[in-house]
């Protein structure tokens, strides 16, 4: 408040900015939309960086699963894993869930922004609502990927080799997943006005998706009802190719390979990894589309 004194002697020689800087806002164009997407994306990164606690907290749960559950259940699981470390087995699934938690959290920022009014600032800007949604989704995907990278860095601890091609493949897959999950989260977040409700809804959706996806078990020889649910769960199609990728870089006995990495099947047909990745991508695009439509018609 003490700083207001400067204004009284404007035009004085020591006042550095007496000239009025007039700017003008151009007509809407592709360039201005791209600029809007970029700044919304950058805001997500700035916020993520300033919120170090979040980086830590969203890693706690996946790491608990990986190291505590993985180590704890090892002795029981020994019979079925054919000598493979349980941690290695669940690693792809844990990577997916780590990315998923972070992506969902990023999407939550829309609800947050609404509660704290900032959403309004973006809503009245002369840009397309779709630019804001795309910026948000890309931002969420980037942030979630950072989280993924931390988990990728731990690969060596669970017996997964640091093979450049493998790392690249995993990174690509988790980026795709991060984008799709953020799009899904944004789609949900646009409709929800309160943070508590959003968190409740997320819990209701995320945990079942995680458990059903096969992140913690093999997708073959499941009871019929679980097989059906598993094939419907979108996360299945992220965990499975990730696991295929990891297992193709391990030297395992055929029996272990068969038991632990049976691959997802549709009516007996083995779904190729690329198709699975495409399923995730296509779902992401569809949900992004829905999110944009919803967002464009609110308020």
């Amino acid at each position: 408040m003490s700083t207001t004194v400067d204004r009284t002697h404007e035009g004085a020689p020591q006042q550095p900015a007496p000239e009025i800087v007039r700017v003008s806002v151009p007509q809407r164009s592709l360039a201005s939309e791209l600029r809007a997407i970029r700044i919304v994306w950058r805001r997500e990164l700035i916020r993520f960086k300033s919120d170090r606690l979040r980086i830590v907290t969203s890693l706690v749960q996946p790491l608990l699963f990986l190291f505590v559950l993985g180590s704890g259940l090892q002795s029981i699981a020994n019979a079925g894993t054919h000598g493979v470390d349980l941690k290695t087995f669940i690693y792809p699934g844990i990577l997916c869930i780590a990315v998923m938690f972070t992506a969902m959290f990023s999407a939550a920022s829309i609800v947050w922004d609404r509660e704290f009014g900032f959403l309004r600032e973006m809503m009245v800007a002369p840009v397309r609502r779709s630019s804001i949604v795309i910026g948000k989704c890309l931002g969420g995907a980037t942030v979630a990927s950072f989280q993924g990278v931390i988990v990728i860095a731990l690969a060596g601890l669970v017996g997964v080799p640091y093979d450049p091609l493998l790392i690249l493949g995993i990174f690509g897959l988790q980026l795709l997943l991060a984008f799709s999950i953020t799009a899904f989260g944004v789609m949900v977040a646009v409709r929800i006005k309160q943070m508590q409700s959003f968190m409740g809804v997320m819990q209701m959706i995320v945990m079942p998706m995680f458990f059903i996806s096969g992140a913690l078990f093999s997708v073959a020889a499941l009871p019929t009802w679980l097989t059906i649910l598993n094939r419907i769960d979108p996360l299945t199609y992220a965990v499975d190719p990730m696991r295929k990728l990891v297992f193709s870089h391990l030297s395992l006995s055929p029996a272990a390979q068969k038991a632990l990495d049976p691959g997802v099947t549709w009516w007996g047909w083995h779904v190729p990894g690329l198709l699975e990745a495409f399923v995730i991508f296509a779902l992401g695009i569809v949900m992004l589309g829905i999110a944009i439509c919803e967002f464009s018609t609110t308020e």
């Binding site: 207001t4 009025i20 800087v21 700017v23 003008s24 700044i39 704290f116 009014g117 959403l119 840009v127």
Partner: protein, 336 residues
């Protein structure tokens, strides 16, 4: 439409028979007015009178139910983006990102509005210097006080050199000192930049700063004049008395003095040309014991009272129920 942008615009804001209905509640009922370029135009009225709804329609945030409005020469429904490019907004509720610094908030705004990259920095410096926040530019907004946030919001609203600046209750909830400094910025703005300012307030004393005031009540404009003209119209002093029997006093005033009095803030209230000289007569002739007397010169509050038959404070209490109803309507399917 962009090329003729600098052509002559007779008015910064033109509004014709604007209405807005939420469900069965008519929030704005046929409003007409024009605001000239460079004017500071005040919208005065109790909460729930339809001020914010009107401002939202002018800012393209709400779609009019009927009628038409042009802002900076563009139709608020058909040329939404053109309106948005030319207006700055300061909302009643804060809309800053508390996690970002002051400068980051302004930069984000500049990027969203597509301000030329090489002008972002100098413009930011200018608007932040004006509101006295330049040396706090790298501070996280979350640590700012309410007054600092409001000042930053004003600076942000000016980032893209809008032709019309909308301020919805810019000083609500601020201490008198901050309120005063905000009014100084507004005055300075008016002098330095060719900007039209449209604002709402329910502080009577603030309305005096405006070039013209529209008094809004129950969704309609009941008076539109320069502040001094409005006050001149009242022309009477306001007398408020506490009596032993208010109803008898009102009856006696009508009968013996021919004065129509009403109840306001729990006191019998009426207007007379020369209040002080009237008081002795009041004591001798009223016939109802008087406990206390208060005589005051005309204020905008009296103007408000003369148009609406109630003071702004009473109207607020009365309308808070109405407002709740409007809000309920808005929440339950009143959205477009």
């Amino acid at each position: 439409m962009g090329s003729s942008e600098n052509g002559h615009h007779p008015a910064a804001i033109e509004v014709r028979e604007l209405t807005k209905t939420f469900g069965d509640v008519q929030a704005v009922r046929g409003v007409d007015f024009e605001v000239a370029t460079g004017e500071v135009f005040g919208f005065l009225g109790p909460n729930g009178a339809g001020k914010t709804t009107t401002i939202n329609m002018l800012c393209t945030l709400a779609r009019p139910t009927s009628g038409e409005a042009r802002v900076a020469g563009h139709d608020v429904v058909r040329e939404r983006d053109d309106v948005r490019r030319n207006i700055g907004l300061v909302f009643q509720d804060p809309t800053l990102d508390g996690y970002l610094t002051a400068a980051q908030n302004l930069r984000l705004h500049a990027e969203l509005y597509g301000v030329q990259s090489d002008l972002v920095e100098p413009r930011m410096r200018q608007v932040m210097t004006m509101v006295g926040l330049w040396d706090r530019k790298d501070t996280t907004v979350g640590t700012f006080s309410g007054g600092m946030r409001r000042r930053l919001e004003i600076a942000r609203g000016l980032m893209h050199s809008p032709r019309v600046l909308f301020l919805d209750e810019p000083t609500i909830g601020l201490d008198p000192q901050t309120r005063r400094s905000i009014w100084e910025y507004i005055r300075e703005l008016k002098e330095r930049e060719e900007i039209t300012i449209f604002m709402t307030t329910h502080y009577m004393d603030e309305a005096e700063w405006c070039d013209r005031i529209a008094i809004m009540d129950h969704g309609q404009i009941v008076a539109l004049e320069r502040p001094e003209e409005l006050k001149a119209q009242v022309g009477t002093d306001r007398v408020m008395i506490h009596t032993e029997d208010d109803e008898a006093a009102i009856a006696a005033l009508a009968e013996r003095f021919g004065i129509e009095a009403g109840m306001s803030e729990g006191m019998v209230t009426f207007g007379v040309p020369a209040g002080e000289e009237f008081v002795p007569r009041l004591f001798s002739d009223l016939g109802v014991p008087i406990k206390s007397v208060n005589v005051s010169r005309p204020t905008l509050d009296d103007v408000f009272m003369s148009y609406t038959g109630t003071t702004i404070r009473d109207a607020e209490e009365d309308q808070s129920r109405h407002r709740n109803r409007v809000m309920m309507q808005m929440m339950h399917g009143g959205r477009r």
